[in-house]
């Protein structure tokens, strides 16, 4: 029953910022506004809630819909063995979000990956470079409008 409780508490503490909440396949899902990401994440990491672990962080491209992008954060509480999915919708014109590196250190590389593949900028990230693709690669390959057979000029050895 803890699952429902956390959603209730979030709705109570952030009545405006929480846009939607649901339980999907036994896991809590919550959609929040972009500005509320840092306060909500800080609240969830506190000892009372204890979502100590950021399992994964990724982005989804819903091409043709508005807002087009959706950031998904998978949180896990080690002490209580429950999960929480945090979603933030981003429009293409305003494609940035606060970085979570201050709260979970592993967000560093995960956010670099999302930046590499989708072009989402993370405000406050210490080292926002491409993670997988090489320097000089143009475009964001996991966006739905990246051409499937597009080839880029070959790269050179890094110094």
């Amino acid at each position: 029953m803890e699952e429902k409780e956390i959603l209730k508490r979030l709705r109570f503490k952030f009545p405006v910022e929480v846009e939607d909440s649901a339980v999907s396949l036994g896991d809590d899902v919550i959609v929040i506004a972009k500005d509320a990401l840092l306060p909500v994440a800080t609240f969830l990491k506190e000892k009372a809630q204890d979502y100590a672990m950021l399992l994964d962080l990724t982005c989804v491209d819903f091409r043709g819909k508005e807002p087009r992008f959706e950031m998904v954060y998978h949180l896990f509480s080690l002490s209580r063995n429950i999960r929480l999915r945090l979603k933030v919708r981003l429009s293409e014109q305003d494609l940035w979000i606060d970085s979570l590196t201050g709260l979970w250190k592993n967000a560093n590389w995960l956010e670099r990956e999302v930046f590499d593949m989708f072009g989402v900028r993370f405000e406050g990230h210490p080292d926002l470079r491409r993670l997988f693709m090489y320097d000089g690669f143009e475009g964001y390959p996991l966006r739905k409008d990246y051409p499937l057979r597009k080839r880029q000029p070959p790269t050179r050895l890094r110094d």
């Binding site: 997988f132 693709m133 390959p141 990246y146 880029q152 070959p154 790269t155 050895l157």
Partner: protein
Amino acid sequence: MSGDKKKRPPAGQFITTQFNSLLGWARKFSLFQYPFITACCGMEYMSMVCAHYDFDRFGAGWTRFSPRQSDMLFVVGTISQKEAPVLRTVYEQMTEPKWVVAFGTCTVSGGIYDNYAVVQGIDKIIPVDIYIPGCPPRPETVLEGFLKLQEKIQHQEQEWRWKKKKS
């Protein structure tokens, strides 16, 4: 290679041809391979090199882990765009004469990875002598391909140190 049109070459040239053939025979049985293994084809490579299929029967049992000591490059597995310059460097570091084997569909054409990250065939980066398709190829297929490579080495024009240059 029809026998009836064959003319007997002059004595000097005869020795050269025989020496060319001798070098080819020696070289095809003393290949030192450099395995450039990046992906799952490596498993198949291992079974081919080890005792079950015993690559050493054909004189290529020695793996060299420095490209400078090897003359046959085995490219086994998917080559990503980021890895391409590394492969090119390894190829350039190898001693002459050298041969390249493309092992598996990924190295031949990119395979199922028809996307932004993967090189669509290593012949975009380096010259390839033998293509061995298969995902992964059976060891028999690889041995067949290797025999083809030996045939190629036997019949190609050999280079050696004091060879007279044509023209």
